[in-house]
Amino acid sequence: MSDTAELTTGGDGERILDSQAAEGLGSDLASALAVAEPQGVYSGITACPILALPGDLFVIGAASSVDAVTRNGHVRGSGAVGNTGGAKRPLIPLDIDRPEHTKYRKLLDPIFAAKKIAPLETDIRALADELIDAFIDRGHADIYDEFCAILPSTIFLRVMGIPTSDLDYFLDFKNDLLRDFPGETAATREARIASAAERCYAYFNTILDERQTRGAPGDDLLGRLLTADVEGHQLTRENILDICYLLMIAGLDTVAASLSCILAWLARHPAERDRIVAHPEMWPDAIEELMRWETPVPAATRTPTVDVRIGEETVPAGTHVSVLWAAANLDPEKFKDPLTVDLTRRPNPHYSFAAGFHRCLGSHLARMELRAALDQFHTRIPNYRVPEGVELTYEAIPVRLARPLPLVWSA
């Protein structure tokens, strides 16, 4: 990646573009991580409690340091300082600290709670089947484009209450906001992001206006936001937009990326895959382990709002800290034989959905989607491989993903 590239940062499940953090990590490191097995690089970072880089930037990858920052009780995301994926204001709830944070999570957590989203599983399996129907007889497909990218985005739009006919429109926003386009100048890039952000705010404003004009807020997520009572107050339009914006940049491709990483790993490890196919009850533990190993959202910016002591360093309040979940997930202080993939690993207290009170809001939905989609895929296509002579290409930042993901099987 170029040295103006962004490090994606997660939290409340979403990503923030943070050029400062990326510059701290360096473009060489970013390219060293864009490989099938970047774990050797990440695990090297766990040994050091904290790396202090020029420009008041700190990087942490040791589990104990990550715990110190995420559990101190006073921390937010990047706070929309600088380029936050084109957002005009701090994103809600990632970029705000407690106690205000708590009132938004009390509103949003029940919508994404495990029991609440469980009934969606039937829909997800049906959608997975529909997608698989389109390519199974062909005996080959780019599984990223034809499966991984479409399934979670479609479910996300259904949860939000946005017509799924707008899927392509949404994928365009998301790509314009989050992807790098080779050869683009910094000015063109900035203009592209600003324009996508404008279109995105305008899109949500139009939908929200329509519902309010009709007097029919709806019983989906947008409807819940329109009618929410937060400590005796309705949410303002800006509050709703700042929530939607975050959900969009967090929800549209994190699960797609996770699916692609897991399917790519299983394609490269057929014996392990065959074990799961023979024992599908292994899926929950296997998914947790592959989420630990792959860490599809590898890093996040956290900004403590009080001074935090880590190792020999004091991180002053207001300083950006680049938190490497992918490194903490390989810390031998936390995980036995961290560089071994054990699909039955227990316990597995991994950091792939962040930690602390900015824990990924969508983690229960993500886990259920992964389990349903992977189980359905392997029921239909249990035996597949990467075509002869093809080496998979990975992206490391802002999300780790395998794209394209060409797979072949006996039709």
Partner: protein
């Protein structure tokens, strides 16, 4: 063997009630509720898995 849950430290990861649904349940926000502090016979391993899988270390287990 006895479990305790620090509700203030629980961030709703849901690992405990996924692993040990007879010992933990989820509330409406997805946070954990300890339903059975006294670990019944045969649930020792699940209790330990749940305790050690909590990313927030919100669960303690008294082995006595």
């Amino acid at each position: 063997m006895r479990l305790t849950l620090d509700s203030g430290a629980c961030m709703g990861h849901g690992r405990c009630y996924s692993l040990a649904p007879e010992l933990f349940d989820a509330d409406d926000e997805g946070h954990s509720v300890l339903v059975n502090p006294n670990v019944p016979p045969g649930q020792d391993k699940l209790a330990r898995d749940a305790q050690e899988s909590c990313p927030e270390q919100a669960i303690t287990l008294d082995e006595a």
